[in-house]
Amino acid sequence: MDMNENKTNEKVEETRLPDTKEGKLVKALIGKAPYAEGSVRRERRVEFHVPAERIHDFLELASETFEMLMQISVVDWLKEGEFEVVYQLWSVSEGVHAFVRTRIPREDAKLPTVMDIWPVAETYEREAHEFFGIIFKGNPRLGPFLLEPREYEKHPLRKDFNMLSYVKAIYGDDFDRYDESKTNYVI
């Protein structure tokens, strides 16, 4: 695990990459995109850290090797005040999975859409928008998707969303959701 490692020294970077197909793949991609940091996690798993303002350029380059965008995962790091957006890519030709990580501030969560590279990103971005409130500039279909319209803009997968109080407010009168001793409200 080297999630929090911030070594920008290129020489260190190069010596750390192993002489495998994963190492060569990372090296080739980093050579084209010097703003990104890359590492090999294990066999068939590579990882890139990319600044948010260059994410579209990087993914466009990466899409030549990594043909499929499997998912866009968002992790809410509440203490740091940041969202970590992880683009999960898969290369059919090489058989390698890539995590492309970028971090954006929670208050001003905006990213460019990657619909033009992978049309399937539309669905992933709609989901990330609904659950976390990230705005993907250029995606025309952001809005209520899986949740009910009244739940839109509550962003329930954010860490500061209080699930208990929400359930109590919505369903409190309709359902008995107290435990056996009738003291604690449970989900």
């Binding site: 998912q71 059919v92 058989g95 999975h97 992978w118 049309p119 992933y124 998707f145 899986l146 989900i187």
Partner: protein, 394 residues
């Protein structure tokens, strides 16, 4: 609005018969397809129709959203198994396995050999019972009900085997991080499994005659819902749907896990990319799965423990993996099923994100393939994509 095609002299006669003045084929209208419709399974599509043709389709999921990813953040690692398996109803072992694989990788556990054998066998059994479930749905959609009823009966055999192994019929709560929850009941169970495999193998000929080599199937599926290789890759189409467009991508071969590197099986590929190709790829895969199960039974379960030996497992609710994250995926009958698990060192996962294959098959791909389709082809396209709404909603 009058129809210009009705000649002037006939207009007077047509008065009072609105269907002649406003033939339905000339009007566009909105049709709500589902969630009550059998083919859609808790999921609905808003179709903009021009006569019998779909002009535009807007997928409307969310009927099954139960907030599993949020709930998983509130519960200990081992409790989550009973929750996450509900993400895939016909093949509930898949979410169990991807979550367990990801947690195994974060902790760094080497799963014992016996548990690996059991997990592989359970996954293949789940695949076969999911194929039976799919035949049931697909057969019903094209009007071949007999095949569906047979398949439902054969699925029951697997359900009984699962019940004896795990205690559950549909939801097994069996694969846990570090191994499996219980050992194999005994040699009798293995004999029963072999009997079931042989029985279904003998019945494949019947399925061919009534469903896969049937004129009706060919008429209903050939040239319907065509996609090409480039479209499939850009839309993250996986599983049999991708292999029907000529891409030989199978997680069991390309990112091997469990015992699959040691097993001998082929990845069937067809090039046409239409509904018929998707149906036939599934037919060939059923044969391969039966062959894999036979090999596993010939191999026999290795002796040894079925759970990893770790002192931390004595206090399960307070079990804490180290900080880290992992992505694990397996090949399900629907496609590439993946899970991304993030641990921050506490006894609950910090984030669990599941990648269901229907997130692409059931939303963007479906909307594209339905454009221009006949209304009667909508269920055929839905079923040949093997769309499973619970993994869109989660």
């Amino acid at each position: 609005m009058t129809n210009p095609e009705v000649p002037k002299e006939l207009r007077e006669e047509a008065k009072g018969h609105d269907m002649y003045l406003h033939p339905i084929a000339k009007d566009t209208y909105e049709l709500f397809f589902g969630p009550q419709h059998m083919a859609t399974e808790n999921f609905s599509i808003i179709l903009k129709m021009d006569g019998n043709r779909v002009e535009k389709a807007i997928v409307n999921p969310g009927f099954l959203h139960r907030g599993f990813e949020k709930l998983a953040e509130q519960r200990p690692y081992f409790t989550n198994i009973a929750l996450l398996l509900r993400i895939c109803v016909p093949e509930s072992d898949v979410p169990e396995n991807i979550y367990s694989m990801a947690v195994d990788e974060i902790v760094g556990w080497e799963v014992p050999e016996r548990a690996v054998w059991i997990r592989t066998t359970v996954l293949e059994m789940a695949r076969l019972s999911a194929w039976m479930f799919w035949i049931m749905g697909f057969g019903n959609e094209i009007g071949l009900y007999t095949a569906g009823q047979w398949a439902a009966a054969y699925r029951e055999r697997f359900m009984r085997l699962f019940e004896e192994l795990t205690g559950g019929r549909v939801y097994h709560i069996y694969t846990v991080p570090g191994g499996v929850r219980r050992d194999i009941p005994g040699d009798r169970w293995l004999r029963q499994l072999r009997d079931t495999v042989e029985y279904i193998k003998s019945k494949m000929k019947d399925f061919d005659e009534i469903l896969f080599d049937n004129y009706i199937t060919f008429e209903r599926t050939e040239g319907v819902g065509v996609m090409d290789r480039r479209f499939a890759l850009k839309h993250a189409v996986t599983g049999p749907n991708l292999r029907a467009t000529g891409v030989p991508y199978d997680v069991r071969k390309d990112d091997p896990y469990y015992l699959y590197p040691e097993l001998d099986f082929e990845v069937p590929v067809l090039k046409e990319g239409d509904s018929l190709a998707r149906v036939l790829v599934r037919r060939y895969e059923m044969e391969q799965d039966l062959y894999i199960l036979e090999q596993l039974l010939d191999m026999g379960p290795p002796s040894g423990p079925y759970m990893v030996q770790d002192a931390r497992l004595k206090a399960l609710p307070r079990f804490k993996p180290p900080k880290g994250d992992a992505y694990a995926h397996v090949e399900s009958t629907k496609g590439d099923f993946g899970a991304y698990v993030v641990s921050n060192g506490t006894h609950k996962p910090y984030r669990v994100h599941v990648r269901g294959p229907s997130q692409s098959h059931g939303v963007t791909v479906l909307e594209e393939l339905l454009k221009g389709a006949r209304l009667a082809d909508v269920p055929v396209i839905l079923k040949t994509l093997d769309n499973c709404p619970p993994d869109i909603d989660r």
